[in-house]
Symmetry: C2
Subunit: 434 residues, 2 copies
């Protein structure tokens, strides 16, 4: 029997109850940490041999050499060519839209020249080589391949090395087809902490990358945390969340299905509705009960909504916006009139889906923006995955002779104040002419 | 006796020798990790009481309440008013230049409208509240206060909470003056892992922040790593490095002093010279010996240059550029003619100091760009601290009725392919009219 928590902001306990229901402890499992530490050390020391050994043990793939674990690019194109036409069209249309959106994010180098001729600026460059982790098994999503790979390609990353475990040799055709569409450079059928280690440290066969992106299980997440610093990593994601703000005038079936679309991901996914109309919340509850029976992923949805779902009656939409800014949701639907007015008041969210026709699922696949978004309140300080995650900046400083005199005096004064005399002398040398 | 490693790229062992000399293992100390874990747990559970207890134990400050550990803003302004005029002028001139440069980094929101009326874009917002860690004691640098605080202020961060330990109650006037110039909101005289915990979790007195920036010792670094995810953090910095590429026609005393200015920071700091002219390397070596005797921080410089300094004879400047891109240095000086031509070929560096008059020390204090830069080869994938580190992006998606029909079909096809039927149904609802 499905039961969803229902709260009202009129309750004195509202804020403490809300924070209790929002709380999610990622935590770190000591056994996983220990295993991952071993795997990283082993791969760093023994390279390909260690990767082969772990792949044999964990994925039951008995390869004699790493070459056997690399998929030729023609294999990806075969997967694409063999897709049903409708799927291929959808995949290519989604990729084109994601590419077009991300092209708006490309950062450019800039400089400016001061009156004395001093030039200052930043030079923007792409990362050389990126590793893309793609999970095997049930959570292998072609859309995730597009969302992680396309921003890197748009940034100008030259080599995109994909790793995807294929336990017992089972390969996912849709994932391989998506890799073809996204323009991945090389693919190795390895996974787990051993794949993360191979990408971070490099082996004889697998080139060392500069950054590793893409979702994975707890072992992959622990490995990414540990290699951070040797390489860059993307955010370690928590369970997915949706917050729907509705004025009570959207078809309640639509809202129920939007909550389902989050809940069906995972039993820990969180779906929240904020609405000022108690009768409408009743109507959505009725829609949930009515629609649930037909859902193939009914059990996951029921567990997620019962364990982590919340229906909240608010005083008005102003209060809903304030609560949304506190929650800093990954996905925020504004199912209201004039959504642009309300969106401008949102300070913290991964993505805002504006208006009754804009369901979150469109953003997961093909609207254009990235579906890799900050979870667990991290939208307070972080951003969707984007082209900017595959570019970096270098400061440019070219001081004129006059500039060296002016700046040299300021720098020397401050350097002596900090007790760093070589800094001061280095600046003072440039004050006098050579 | 000072001895600096000298290499030539003509040696067959060059690359392996270079990589050996570059290697730096940050490592994590198990005892520190354990202590920090305890402190974080204690502060999270007991709040102010725990912070007071640790401050008593580690800083020998016996405060009865947190209120006694907050410095009123008037205290900062008194510190500024009491500075010698030349120091105050230098501090304010540096702050004005850093502010002017960073204003070029402010990101703006953007949207575009597609033919069917669908609007896509990103909304840029500032973080609400940032914590600024400032070390106490000898490594307390006012320039570091400016470099960390000003980008946050330019980004529009409303509250900037500074923590600075004051062991035995000793306060650093230059640091407090810099905090006044930078516009810090509140200052607490606490430090160590307990200060990081207080900022990350919040206490009755200290507000929870969204991100913590600023340098610290091994305990602070370990604490920042552990609270990452609850709050954002900046990069955990390794030892500072400089790489000088010189054509052999700059005054060798200048280059020697530039190498000193890096070496005087820390015995682990690394100074490297690349030059195609063996006689010039001899001349720089002679300058090093001649100038070292006069340096107040002679012992640190000698230890750093002996332990980690490298003088490398290269075949030509082309080879020097290739080596620089391999090293991905924090600071890169191009002491050559037409430095802009060579700078354009640099793919990985924190900051490039272009031309003979542009010494690295100018960038540390007052040129304008940030002095918080990626170390230990992390310039391969990360950037100088900037305004963009205090802003974040939210995706905006407003799909028109026509757009919902077009996109709904694509999304539904892909969602069914991934076995996510609620996603598909949610998109399909919007294809039919309400």
């Amino acid at each position: 029997m499905l039961t969803i928590q229902r709260l009202t902001t009129r309750s004195l306990q509202f804020h403490s109850e809300l924070d209790r229901l929002l709380a999610f402890e990622g935590g770190q499992d000591a056994a996983i940490e220990h295993t991952v530490e071993d795997i990283l050390r082993h791969v760093r020391r023994d390279g390909d041999a260690a990767v082969l050994e772990y792949t044999r043990r964990f994925d039951r793939l008995d390869a004699a050499s790493m070459a056997q674990l690399e998929l030729p690019l023609v294999r990806l194109h075969t997967a694409l060519d063999n897709l049903p036409q409708a799927q291929r069209d959808a995949l290519e249309a989604a990729a084109a839209r994601v590419r077009a959106y991300h092209e708006h994010q490309v950062m450019q180098s800039w400089t400016y020249t001061e009156a004395d001729g001093t030039v200052l600026g930043q030079q923007v460059t792409a990362l050389d080589r990126v590793g893309l982790y793609v999970p095997g098994g049930k959570a292998a999503y072609p859309s995730s391949v597009l969302m992680n790979a396309i921003p890197a390609k748009v940034a100008g990353v030259e080599e995109l090395i994909m790793v995807v475990p294929t336990p017992d040799g089972v390969q996912n055709e849709l994932v391989l087809a998506a890799a073809a569409v996204a323009g991945v450079t090389r693919v190795f059928t390895i996974g787990g902490a051993q794949a993360v280690a191979a990408l971070a440290y490099g082996t004889a066969t697998i080139p060392q990358v500069d950054k590793i992106v893409g979702p994975g299980n707890a072992y992959v997440a622990a490995a990414k945390r540990r290699v951070f610093g040797t390489v860059g990593i993307d955010m370690v994601a928590g369970p997915s969340e949706i917050l729907v703000i509705c004025d009570g005038r959207t078809n309640p079936d639509w809202i129920a299905m939007d909550l389902f679309s989050q809940a069906e991901h995972d039993e820990l996914a969180q779906s929240i509705l904020l609405c000022p109309d108690a009768a409408y919340i009743d109507a959505v509850t009725a829609s949930i009960r009515k629609l649930l029976a037909d859902m193939p992923r009914r059990e996951v949805i029921e567990a997620s909504l019962s364990g982590r779902g919340i229906l909240i009656e608010v005083r008005d939409l102003d209060e809903a916006i304030a609560i949304a800014n506190h929650i800093a949701p990954e996905h925020l639907e504004l199912s209201v009139d004039q959504p642009e007015v309300w969106a401008a008041r949102i300070k913290h969210a991964g993505a805002i889906f504006m208006g009754r026709t804009t369901c979150e699922a469109l953003g997961d696949y093909c609207a254009g923006p990235n579906h890799v978004l900050p979870t667990s309140r991290t939208a307070r300080f972080s951003s969707p995955l984007g082209v900017y995650d595959f570019q970096k900046r270098t400061s440019l400083i070219q001081v004129s002779e006059q500039g060296a005199r002016t700046l040299g005096k300021i720098a020397a004064t401050l350097a002596y104040g900090e007790g760093l005399q070589a800094h001061a002398r280095s600046a003072e040398y440039r004050i006098t002419t050579d």
